[in-house]
C-alpha cells in the first residue's frame, strides 16, 4: 500500500530536480502566506465581494493585468534560464528535457498568458470609458472570460510541479506532440490549459465586438471613435474568426491523445501537416490580435503627448482593416519549407509582403503625428517612441522572411527568433508597458513615478537591443532555435554571451518597473483631476479611478477626440448645461463565473490525467452553473441619485 502510494507520488509530482523542489517550496510558502494574510486582516469577504465576484470591467481589467504580470515574471524566468544555459557551449545548467520544457512554457505563456490577457486587461479598462459606456455588453460573460483565462493559466502552470511540463514547443507540431512520440501528461496540460483560456478569449472577442458596436455614447459614430477602440473592434473581429480554428485543432489533438483518434498521427492516415495548417490559421491572425491593440495604444499615446490629433485618422483605420484581412491569407508563410509547390509559396510570399504596405503607412502616420507637435517625453511616450525604430527593424526583417527562397535560409534559425521578438517585444511588450503607465492613474488614482519609469524604460529598451540585434547574425551563422546546447568552435559563443547579458538587463528593467509599482503604491502622486496627461479621449473625463458607473451622465459626442473638444469649449466659456441625475442601472455581482471556471479547472485537470471520475463531475458542475445562471432573474440593481451625488461630490465633480 505504502509502496504504491510512493510510486504514485513519484509519478504525480515532478521529482529529482532541486529547482523543482525549490519551486514546490516557494509555491507552498506563497500559498500559505496569502491565506494567512487574508485571514489575519479578515480580507476574505472583501476579496470575494469586491474582486472575485465582480462584473465591473475596471476590476476585471485590473485582475487581468495582475495575472498577466505574474505570468510575465514566470515567462521571463523561463527566458533567463534558457539564456543562462546557452551562454557558453556545452553547459549543463539545464539538461535537454528540462530545456525543452522551458522553451515550450516560455512561448506558450508569453503569447497566451501574457500578451493576450495584458491586452484584454487594458481594453477592459479603457474601451468602455473611451466610448462613454457604463460597462461592457455582457458583464457576466466578461467575468467568465477572465476566470476561464485564469484557471487555464493555473492549469498550465501546474504542470511545472505536478506531472511534468509539455515539451513540444508552443507550436506543438504533430506528429512529435502526438501520443506516439510524446506520451505523458505534459502535452495534455498544454492542450487543456490553452483550450480553457481560449474559450474565454473567444467570448471576450464577441463581448467587445458587441460592446463597441452597440454601446457607444450618443453622437460617437464609428469614425469618431478613439483609435484604441478602433483597434479593439478590429481585433475582436479577428478573435472571432481565428480562435475557432485553434479551438478545433486543440480539440482534435486532445481526442487523438486521450481517445486514440488519428487526426494528426503518423499512423492510420493521420495528417501531421493538418495541425500546422490549423495552428497557423489561428497563429498568424493571433500575431495581429496582440499587435493591433498596441497600435491603438501607441496612436492614443503619441497623439496625447504630441498634443495633436492623430495624423491621417481614416487611413489609420483602413490600414488596420487591411492588416486584419491580410492576416487571414498569410498563414502558410510559417511553413514555406514544408514542401509547397512554387506557385503556392509565391502566393503566400506576396500576400505576406503586402502587409508591409498598411503597416508602413501607419509608421509614417505616427511620424507625421509627431511632426509639428509639441512632444512631451513622459514614460508612456518613451515606450511609444522607442516602438517606432525598434518595431521597424522587426517589420523589415519580416519582409525579408516573407521572401520564400530566402526564408529557406532563415526558417527555424535564430534570425527568425530575433525577428519575432523584435515585433513582439518592440510591438506588444513596449505597447503593454506603454498602456500600463498611461492608464495606471485611471486604474488606481495615482501616478507611477516618472523618474523610475524612465530608468526602467532605458534599461529595458537598451538591453532588448543588446539581446536581440546580435541574434540576427547568430541565425545567419546557422544556429537554430530550440537547441539546448551547442558545440564550441562554431564562432557562436561571443554572440551568445552578449545576448545573455542583454537578457539579464531586460530582467533588471522589469524588476525596476515592479519596484516602481510598489514604490508608487506607497508614495505615488495622487491624480485628483482624473486627467493627469491632458488627455484627448473620454476616459480622462471621469474621476481616477472611475466610479462604479463610470459616467454620472452619459457623455454626448460631436467630434473626434471628444474630451479635448469639450475642454476647448470649456476654455471658451461654454460649460454646457447642468443636468439632473437619474438612477443608474448596473449589473449585480455574481459568484457563478468563478465557480464555473473552478469546475472547468477540475474537468481540465481530470482530462490531463485521463481521470474521468474527476473530469465528468467537473463537466457536470459547469453545466449545473449554466443552469443556475439561467434561473437568475434579478441580475441588476439601481444606483440611487443620493449615492451618485455622494460619489460625485467626493471627487469634486458635483455639477
Amino acid at each position: 500500500m505504502i509502496d504504491s502510494i510512493k510510486s504514485f507520488m513519484g509519478w504525480f509530482f515532478v521529482t529529482g530536480d532541486p529547482m523543482i523542489y525549490g519551486a514546490d517550496a516557494s509555491i507552498a510558502l506563497a500559498s500559505i502566506g496569502i491565506v494567512a494574510v487574508l485571514t489575519y486582516f479578515k480580507k476574505w469577504k472583501w476579496l470575494w465581494q469586491e474582486w472575485l465576484t465582480s462584473v465591473d470591467h475596471k476590476k476585471i481589467g485590473i485582475m487581468y493585468i495582475i495575472a498577466a504580470l505574474l505570468m510575465l515574471f514566470r515567462g521571463g524566468v523561463d527566458a533567463l534560464m534558457m539564456r543562462t544555459q546557452l551562454t557558453l557551449p556545452n553547459l549543463h545548467f539545464l539538461d535537454a528535457e528540462h530545456y525543452n520544457q522551458v522553451f515550450t512554457t516560455h512561448g506558450t505563456i508569453m503569447i497566451i498568458f501574457v500578451a493576450m490577457p495584458f491586452i484584454f486587461g487594458l481594453m477592459n479598462i479603457a474601451v468602455p470609458l473611451q466610448i462613454g459606456a457604463r460597462d461592457v455588453a455582457f458583464p457576466f460573460l466578461n467575468a467568465l472570460s477572465f476566470w476561464l483565462f485564469f484557471v487555464g493559466a493555473m492549469l498550465f502552470n501546474l504542470s511545472f510541479v505536478i506531472g511534468g511540463s509539455p515539451d513540444a514547443g508552443w507550436s506543438s507540431y504533430a506528429p512529435y506532440a502526438d501520443v506516439e512520440m510524446n506520451p505523458g501528461v505534459g502535452q495534455n496540460y498544454y492542450l487543456l490549459g490553452v483550450q480553457i483560456s481560449g474559450i474565454g478569449s473567444l467570448a471576450t472577442g464577441i463581448n467587445f465586438l458587441v460592446t463597441i458596436l452597440k454601446m457607444r455614447a450618443p453622437g460617437m459614430t464609428l469614425f469618431k471613435m478613439p483609435m484604441f477602440t478602433w483597434s479593439i473592434l478590429i481585433t475582436s473581429v479577428i478573435v472571432v474568426f481565428a480562435f475557432p480554428a485553434f479551438t478545433v485543432a486543440l480539440a482534435l489533438m486532445t481526442i487523438d491523445r486521450l481517445f486514440g483518434a488519428h487526426f494528426f498521427t503518423i499512423a492510420a492516415g493521420g495528417s501531421p501537416m493538418l495541425w500546422a495548417n490549423l495552428f497557423w490559421f489561428w497563429g498568424h491572425p493571433e500575431v495581429y490580435i496582440v499587435l493591433l491593440p498596441v497600435f491603438g495604444i501607441f496612436s492614443e499615446v503619441i497623439a496625447t503627448f504630441a498634443h495633436k490629433t492623430l495624423f491621417g485618422y481614416a487611413v489609420m483605420v483602413w490600414s488596420m482593416v487591411a492588416i486584419s484581412l491580410l492576416s487571414f491569407i498569410t498563414w502558410l508563410h510559417h511553413f514555406f519549407t514544408m514542401g509547397n509547390t512554387a506557385p503556392v509559396n509565391a502566393f503566400f510570399s506576396i500576400s505576406t509582403m503586402l502587409i508591409a504596405i498598411p503597416t508602413g503607412v501607419k509608421i509614417f502616420n505616427w511620424l507625421f503625428t509627431l511632426n509639428k507637435g509639441r512632444i512631451q517625453f513622459t514614460t508612456p511616450m518613451l515606450w511609444a517612441l522607442a516602438f517606432i525604430p525598434n518595431f521597424t527593424i522587426g517589420g523589415v526583417t519580416g519582409v525579408m522572411l516573407a521572401m520564400a527562397p530566402a526564408d529557406y535560409q532563415y526558417h527555424n534559425s535564430y534570425f527568425l527568433v530575433a525577428h519575432f521578438h523584435s515585433t513582439l517585444i518592440a510591438g506588444t511588450v513596449f505597447g503593454i508597458f506603454c498602456g500600463l503607465h498611461y492608464w495606471w492613474p485611471k486604474m488606481f488614482g495615482y501616478m507611477l513615478d516618472e523618474t523610475k519609469g524612465k530608468w526602467s524604460f532605458w534599461i529595458f529598451m537598451i538591453s532588448f537591443n543588446v539581446c536581440f540585434m546580435p541574434m540576427y547574425f547568430l541565425g545567419l551563422m546557422g544556429m537554430t532555435r530550440r537547441m539546448y546546447t551547442y558545440p564550441a568552435g562554431l564562432g557562436w559563443t561571443p554572440i551568445n554571451v552578449v545576448m545573455t547579458i542583454g537578457a539579464f538587463g531586460m530582467g533588471a528593467g522589469f524588476v525596476l518597473m515592479a519596484y516602481n509599482i510598489i514604490w508608487s503604491a506607497m508614495h505615488g502622486k495622487k491624480d485628483a483631476t482624473g486627467d493627469p496627461w491632458n488627455g484627448r479621449t473620454l476616459e480622462w473625463s471621469t474621476a481616477s479611478p472611475a466610479a462604479e458607473y463610470n459616467f454620472a451622465h452619459i457623455p454626448e459626442v460631436s467630434e473626434r477626440d471628444a474630451f479635448a473638444v469639450t475642454k476647448e469649449k470649456r476654455k471658451a466659456g461654454n460649460a454646457g448645461t447642468v443636468k439632473s441625475y437619474a438612477p443608474i442601472h448596473m449589473p449585480n455581482n455574481t459568484g457563478i463565473p468563478v465557480i464555473m471556471a473552478s469546475f472547468m479547472f477540475v474537468a481540465g485537470f481530470g482530462c490531463v490525467f485521463e481521470w474521468y471520475w474527476m473530469a465528468i463531475p467537473g463537466v457536470i458542475g459547469v453545466i449545473a452553473c449554466m443552469i443556475a445562471r439561467s434561473f437568475v432573474y434579478n441580475d441588476h440593481h439601481y444606483i440611487s441619485v443620493e449615492e451618485i451625488k455622494r460619489t460625485e461630490a467626493a471627487t469634486g465633480r458635483l455639477s
Partner: protein, 319 residues
Amino acid sequence: MKKLKILIKPMLLLLAVPMLTMLTGCSDKIAVLNPQGPVARSQYHLIIWSLIMMSFVLAIVLIIFVYVLARYGRKKSAGYDPDDTGNRKLEIIWMIVPVVICVLLAVPTVKTLFSLSNPPKATAMQSKTAGKTLTIDVTSVQWKWLFRYPNQKIETVNYVVIPAGTPVKFRLHAYDAMNAFWVPELGGQQYTMTDMPMKLWLQADKPGNYDGRSSNYSGKGFAHMTFKVMARSATDFDSWVQSVKSNKPALTHEKYMELLKPNTVKPQEFSSYPELVSKDLNKAQMEALMNGDPVETDKMNGMDMDKENNGKGGHDHND
C-alpha cells in the same frame, strides 16, 4: 537639445552592436552569407537585395524619426500646429513607395522560387559527370540522419559524400518526428515528413566539408542531430563509393532496426542495404509490418513530381 542627446546615444548603440558583431566576427563564420553552391548563392543574392531595400526603408524611418524628435522635442519648439491632421498627397506617396518596394522584391522572389524547383546547372569539369545528377534518399530518424544512394546501393549515417559541381537531388523522408534538412552554405532547408517525400536540389561548387543540421525541433537529442556534407571531386567520389562497397559491412536487417530506435549514433557507412530500407516506411508502417498487419502506403507524391527520376534517373558513377 538635452532630450535629443539622450535619444541619440541609444540610437548609435542600436546601430553599433550589429556593426561590431559584423566586423569582429569572421565573415566566413556567417554561413548563410558565405554561399558555397549555386542554390545558396541565388538565395544569398536575394538576401542581399532585400537587405539593401530594407536598409533604405529603415534609413528613411530613422531620419524622419530623429528629425521630428530634434525639431519638435524641445519645450519651446516653434512650428506647433495642432491642425496638421492629414495630407492627402503625402499619404499617397507613402502608400505608393511601399508598393513599389514590394514589387521590386516580389519579382526576384518569384523567379528564384521557380528556379529552385529545377536542378542547378552542373559545373563539374569532367565530361564523365557533365549533365548528370545524383539522387540521395535522406531519412531523418530521432536523432540521426540516414543517407541512401539508390544507384550506388550504399548507405551512410550522419555524413554524406557528394561529387562537387554535380546537382544532387536529396529526396527527404521522415521515419518518425518531422525534422528539417539544412546545410546553410549549400542552400536553404526543407522539412522531412512521414507522409510526403520532399525534394531538395543542392550543389557544392568545390570540394570541401559543410556543416548540416536538423533545424526543426524533434525532441531530446535534437541539438545533436548534425551531419557533415563532404563534397569531393568526381574521381574521389567514385573511389570513395568503391572503398565503401569493398571495405565496409553490409547493413543487416537487425542493424537497420537498431538504427531506427530514438538515440544518437556516430557516423558510419554500409556497403549495401536490405530491400526493406528502400521502401521508406515510416514508423507506423514499420510497426504494422513487424506485427504482420497490412501496411498502408498511400504516399502523396509531394514535391517529387518528376516520376521518371524515381531511383533510376540519377547518374551512376560505377559505369
